[in-house]
Symmetry: C2
């Protein structure tokens, strides 16, 4: 079956500052309540996930994630209300893009 | 400056069969009238470009490119009328996606 695929992200001066990777990390943090568990599920190092959270927070009006103190990899992680809004809005933008592509099935008929 | 970026392509059973790379190749073939010149401009080997054209033609109702016989890398290459329609339609789909994203500037304000 032929289908459209797309990827959408936000850049600033050529640097990716938001997109599907960060959204997946936020979703997992929300679900797991822990950055190390979220990193594990994404098969990403704790360090890389931590850097991503740091960068995301730096690029956001208000923090998207709050890390709570604990042991070395301990403590919890929480997606803020602002983070949840940002995720939801990004999802709705992706849904819009999907709708546009679903309305373009004619194009797929030109391919085989 | 923050901006949305996106990529859109067509897959069949997980294989990419159309997208920005093929469109660029088609554009260059149209401009250069030659597959080897088009491949050069894309810094792609002639073999890779030839394979791409072959795959594109196989995945299209009608051929997108016609290769004319000539020397080893010689002969001309021509984008068919069908190819031009496909390129134009893909461009217009991308324009639609761009329009959706341009209407979502509010989201960018949530990032900084």
């Amino acid at each position: 079956m032929k289908e459209f695929r797309f990827k959408c992200w936000v850049e600033e001066d050529g640097e990716k500052i938001f997109g599907p990777g960060p959204v997946e990390l936020l979703r997992l943090i929300e679900k797991e309540g822990s950055l190390s568990k979220a990193a594990d599920k994404m098969k990403m190092s704790y360090k890389k996930a931590w850097d991503m959270v740091k960068r995301l927070n730096e690029h956001s009006e208000d923090p998207l994630v709050i890390l709570k103190k604990g042991g070395s990899h301990g403590g919890g992680a929480q997606v803020t209300a602002h983070g949840i809004r940002v995720m939801a809005e990004f999802q709705s933008i992706q849904d819009e893009l999907k709708k546009v592509l679903e309305s373009q099935q004619d194009f797929l008929q030109k391919l085989k």
